[in-house]
């Protein structure tokens, strides 16, 4: 039985709604600025979005490269934002993080990143993003639940070249699930593939598109031919 609460990210569920981003920005410590990164993988060819929160590495690269020793981990393994009195705003952490998480907040002159809603999780509540996320792409709950009920399964070890990174936050993956095409054209009838888009709308009719197709259908002879196809 493992009922400790953990963080799980599942991009396959994400609908790109930005509730997480908007809710993160609501925190009074960062005043309208979100610590979550949400990007389209490539909007021209699809609607897949990926939410990124801090992965809270066991041995955080950002802390290792910090010359001012400003990035601390608490006893639960949560990697905190840079401590204001120490941070020299050098951006080493921003460049070094394998997941691209920390951001330099020029208005605060400080590296700020997701600290897993320290104010909430430290008193047993869920982080804000994982509370509001309508799709379950960001989920905070027991590992048992996830392993039992989710199609995707958690992974928290990542390979970046020679570096192996283990994280507190889990990424959900579904090895057996094939990626679908992102292009509507791939879902159209075969003959349509090379066709002019305008001809596609008109479906072979000389002028008024489907009214013509329809009249043709009402012609018993044409109908018979089609049924025999």
């Amino acid at each position: 039985m493992n009922d400790a609460l953990e963080f799980f990210i599942d991009p396959s569920r994400c609908i790109g709604c930005q509730a997480c981003v908007q809710a993160c920005g609501e925190c009074d410590t960062h005043r309208g600025t979100a610590m979550i990164h949400l990007d389209y993988v490539h909007r021209p060819t699809g609607v897949q979005t990926t939410p990124v929160v801090c992965m809270h590495c066991e041995d955080p690269t950002c802390a290792k490269v910090c010359p001012a020793d400003a990035i601390k981990q608490d006893e639960q393994g949560v990697v905190l934002s840079a401590a204001k009195p120490r941070c020299v705003a050098c951006s080493n952490c921003v460049l070094a993080c394998p997941f691209g998480v920390p951001k330099m907040q020029t208005s605060f002159d400080l590296m700020m990143k997701c600290d897993m809603c320290y104010d909430r999780t430290s008193i047993g509540r869920k982080p804000m993003c994982a509370t509001v996320c309508p799709s379950g792409a960001l989920f905070y709950g027991p590992r048992d639940y996830v392993e039992k009920f989710r199609r995707e399964q958690p992974v928290n070890e990542f390979q970046f070249g020679a570096q192996t990174v283990r994280t507190k936050v889990n990424m959900m993956t579904a090895p057996g699930v094939k990626a679908l095409p992102f292009d509507v054209a791939d879902f159209l009838p075969f003959e349509a593939l090379d066709e002019d888009p305008l001809a596609l709308a008109r479906a072979g009719a000389p002028d008024v598109a489907d009214a013509a197709v329809w009249h043709e259908l009402h012609d018993p002879k044409a109908e018979l031919e089609l049924i025999c196809e």
């Binding site: 994400c14 005043r31 990164h37 709308a201 489907d210």
Partner: protein, 742 residues
């Protein structure tokens, strides 16, 4: 004369939309006096939410995890909804039009002017020359009150509401098929379904909370079929995606049923015992072979067969649809042909088995139940049925012949204004200038009115044309109930009181009624009294709330109607045991042959135009275009088009394109994406003026539901200019970093 008296920019300067970014009192100082458990106002899901209130201002939110439907989840609109409160654009006093815009007025002046105009117009041109338009974002209490006000105080037949632009096709189809208008199942049935057919419903952007329900079904092994001209975020990982050609939905449903019958995936015993007219449908769909259906719908025959293979033999199944199949001149027919797929399998009225239209407006369900429609009396009663008229006339204490007859629907009211038959209009919570198709005609109609009165909290684009604006209330400034898309009546709590001289809407209506000589029938101290009256009025009607009370709603996280007695637990799932609500207890199949949309593509206008929503905006945007963070998320309408079409037109991403139809044109940036059919373009409709998608859409109406055909018309697209060198900030503002870290 309801013409504008100053330039649009002058109105904007004075009344907005102004973008509000930060909470009242600023960040960091938000120690709430109280947390109010209430609901989000921005869609029919009605997520539970707690509003943080400090010093009579809503300053933030906290998730409400105990509310069972959303369990703390929210979409971005819910997260930022609190920013509509304490807004710089908020109307604080009544306004009266002047030669240059508006001036503040006292309530006495504003109400007297309104009543004088009503009396003079009705005196000269008859009672029906003054119309009333209500809204489906308002509480059940106000929906009831609007209907009662129009019938008793205005005595006009012409009352309707903006739900006429929303889901009335589903409503009419529900009554025709099942004898009652409500989603048949609670949403908790979705995760229990083994097959989900989602057609014309952009769940991820319009009802985001239901996404989790769909994914949980998938976790349990459900197969998901999505039918849409666009690959929406829900379609992205569906098991089967059918890219239907706009306006061909009924043919597709007929084609799927054809295969199911051929393969024997129908429940003959259920059909014989619980339904009528299957034979007519069987005969009709015989000709809808996959090959033929492919030609009409643009969906490959193999995909049509595959859909039948998933849906036909499934153990449990749910059909979910929304505006995508309803916003058509055959909207009712589309819905009925899809309902045939449910009835043919007999999978309804059981856990994980059934059907639901997903209502889009805040009170899309309740707003259509309590009598603010031209053909309806409280309790879902029919204004044309003598026994229903008799009941309500007696309940209101008036002779039956004095109850007005059925009047015109929302778009028809606009047409009648255009023809000069309706001279005066009182509109509440409705922004027809942005939301009714063929906006140029809407503007011309508004300009013809002898009197326009608007009750609203912000000055909407329509209200700019008003003679009198009565400063009403936001959702959080009043209390009452709404009925969610699953038929659950829930309680809205009062968080703050209206600011300045603004008043709660129901008081304004009651004040007007009193000045029209109806004080006795409109004498309420609190919304609770209106609720108790509407519940009593619904007793024994098709939509029965008579067992509900505020206390019960609060104790139970809402109650599903019908709830005919104080000890009745409510009815989350309809039609259990195959008991339908037609007098003989049977459901009805409907055989509708496919027919083309009112305006199909041709050589001159060779592309399909379709419209819809984005996740960060709500309806005509009167509220959400004033919330900074939501505007930044999707700042302006874009014209989605496929790269193959873009190549043909010589258009690159973000180039400015002119989209034109027989009714008008708009110029917007292109968004070149593979997620849309190559023969179709899409523009969301939340914006006014020259960016209004409804300048293009076709005001052709469904003959039964009178819904306009928002979802398909013919257009042409031309490039106007290259993308600006410094492209407008767009989402995502950052690099494509996510791709490289996968």
């Amino acid at each position: 004369m309801a013409t504008l008296t100053q330039s649009d920019s002058c109105y904007t300067e004075q009344f907005g939309p102004t973008l509000s970014f930060a909470p009242a009192g600023g960040w960091g100082s938000r120690q709430p006096d109280k947390l109010v458990k209430t609901h989000c106002c921005f869609c029919g899901v009605q997520c539970g939410i707690q509003l943080k209130v400090s010093d009579n201002k809503v300053v933030g939110f906290e998730p409400w995890e105990e509310f069972p439907v959303n369990q703390g989840k929210l979409c971005p609109k819910g997260v930022k909804r609190y920013l509509q409160n304490d807004h710089p654009d908020r109307l604080l006093t009544p306004l009266v039009r002047t030669d240059s815009g508006f001036r503040a007025a006292t309530w006495d002046e504003a109400l007297s002017k309104t009543v004088a105009a009503i009396k003079s117009i009705q005196g000269k041109f008859g009672k029906d020359a003054f119309a009333f338009l209500g809204g489906a974002s308002m509480t059940n209490e106000k929906a009831y009150l609007n209907g009662k006000f129009a019938r008793l105080a205005l005595q006009t037949a012409n009352i309707d509401y903006n739900g006429r632009l929303c889901m009335v096709s589903a409503g009419a189809a529900n009554r025709m098929a099942f004898g009652v208008d409500r989603a048949a199942n609670p949403w908790s049935d979705i995760p229990l379904a083994k097959a989900l057919l989602i057609t014309g419903a952009n769940i991820a952007e319009c009802f985001p909370i239901l996404t989790d329900h769909v994914w949980r079904a998938r976790d349990h092994g459900a197969k998901i079929i999505v039918i849409d001209p666009r690959i929406t975020p829900i379609a992205r990982t569906a098991d089967l995606f059918l890219p239907v050609r706009p306006g061909r939905d009924s043919a597709l449903a007929n084609g799927i049923l054809h295969v199911m019958i051929e393969r024997g995936w129908i429940d003959e015993a259920f059909i014989a015992a619980h339904t009528h007219d299957f034979d007519k449908v069987r005969a009709l769909v015989a000709k809808y072979t996959p090959a033929l259906t492919e030609r009409i719908t643009g969906v490959p025959a193999a995909s049509i067969v595959k859909a039948a293979e998933i849906w036909g033999p499934a153990e449990t199944s749910m059909l979910l649809h929304a505006r995508g199949i309803e916003h058509h001149t055959k909207g009712v027919e589309n819905v009925l042909t899809y309902i045939n797929l449910v009835l043919a399998t007999g999978r309804i009225g059981k856990p994980g088995c059934g059907y639901g239209t997903i209502t889009g407006q805040g009170n899309g369900q309740g707003g259509r139940e309590h009598g603010q429609r031209c053909n309806q009396l409280p309790g879902g009663r029919d204004i044309n049925k003598p026994e229903h008229r008799e009941f309500i006339a007696k309940f209101w204490g008036v002779p039956e012949p004095e109850l007005p007859k059925q009047g015109l629907t929302a778009c028809e009211i606009m047409d009648a204004i255009e023809r000069g038959e309706i001279k005066g209009l009182l509109s509440i919570s409705f922004n027809p200038l942005v939301s009714i198709p063929d906006a140029s005609r809407t503007r011309a109609a508004l300009e013809k009115l002898e009197f326009l009165g608007c009750i609203d909290f912000f000055l909407s684009e329509t209200a700019r044309h008003a003679d009198v604006v009565l400063a009403g209330s936001l959702q959080e400034e009043d209390e009452g109930t709404v009925t969610t898309g699953e038929g659950r009546c829930v309680r809205l709590r009062n968080s703050v009181s209206p600011p300045g001289d603004a008043r709660v809407d129901w008081q304004i209506i009651c004040d007007l009624a009193a000045r029209l000589g109806n004080a006795a029938a409109f004498n309420y101290a609190r919304p609770k009294e209106i609720f108790d009256e509407l519940a009593a009025a619904s007793k024994g009607g098709p939509i029965d709330y008579s067992g509900m009370s505020y206390e019960r709603l609060e104790q139970n996280f809402g109650i599903f109607w019908p709830c005919p007695a104080p000890e009745h637990p409510g009815t989350p799932r309809l039609f259990e045991g195959g008991e339908f609500h037609h007098p003989d207890g049977r459901a009805k199949f409907h055989a509708f042959d496919y027919r083309p949309p009112a305006e199909d593509v041709d050589a001159q206008f060779p592309l399909f135009f379709t419209s819809g929503r984005v996740v960060s905006q709500y309806l005509s945007g009167t509220q959400t275009r004033r919330i900074g963070a939501l505007v930044e998320q999707y700042p302006e309408p874009l014209c989605e088009m496929h790269p193959r079409l873009a190549a043909k037109l010589g258009v690159k991403d973000r180039d400015l394109v002119r989209v034109s139809t027989r009714r008008g044109e708009i110029t917007v940036p292109a968004q070149v994406v593979t997620s849309i059919r190559p023969d179709t373009v899409f523009v969301p409709y939340h914006w006014p003026g020259r960016k209004s998608a409804n300048l293009l859409t076709n005001r052709a109406l469904d003959p039964i539901s009178k819904i306009p055909e928002f979802k398909v018309c013919a257009c042409k697209v031309e490039k106007v200019a290259d993308a600006p060198a410094q492209p407008a900030r767009q989402f995502p503002a950052r690099s494509q970093r996510a791709a490289s870290t996968r």
